[in-house]
Symmetry: C2
Subunit: 146 residues, 2 copies
Amino acid sequence: MRDWIALDPSECESLLRAGVVGRMAVFDGTRPHILPLNYAVVGDALLVRTGADSLLARLPDRTPLAFEVDALDHDGHRGWSVVAHGRSERIDSLDEVDRLDRGRGPRPWVAGTRPHHLRLRWSSLTGYRLGTGWDLRAAMPVRRAE
Amino acid sequence: MRDWIALDPSECESLLRAGVVGRMAVFDGTRPHILPLNYAVVGDALLVRTGADSLLARLPDRTPLAFEVDALDHDGHRGWSVVAHGRSERIDSLDEVDRLDRGRGPRPWVAGTRPHHLRLRWSSLTGYRLGTGWDLRAAMPVRRAE
């Protein structure tokens, strides 16, 4: 078994920027929810797109969110996980969406319109890895070019 | 792009039983958290193990939880996701832990003692897939034998 080792914030940010898919956690006042989502880091914020009738589209602005990316190597029993905490921010300006989205925005896999963009400017980035001596990025199934 | 298609509860349960790793979401009163965890379904409940100083070990009993398992095929832009909702239940009886754990319990990857067992008897199972014509189980990186 492998040791739990904290990642420093710059390492967390680099992994978060390299990712394509993560999971968002949000509390609706009654219970928590988790949703896998395509995302992109644009500037210093994380950006996701969502449908008009989704839980995320209905969130009050400034709702606390947690967004997690990870890579798990089942054979090696190793992995890493990074969590961005922050508050939701709905982007309503089409100009701003267009600017954020230009060639770098999140690319949903699901059909149908995903008109709402939600931004999460993280207030903290925390993460850990299990064990040393292996490449964190190589464990990612897909990652963005640097 | 692919259509979002709801999974029925029996399909959700079958996928949940086949999984090995998922992500737990919990709200601590201030913000949500997400933790990747090894798990096992034993009987009609999901079981995880955790260290004595962890967030999960400190949860009041009956805290609402969401546990998500998924398989994402990045090349095919398809995937599925299943979420179990329920409340936390700490298992303190060593006899019960031993009974639950016999050969079928969750197997943490991380070193150190994980003395606490947390049970989630789900009150709802919901899930979806993106697109048809592909095998949900085959998309899982690792799964339990039936």
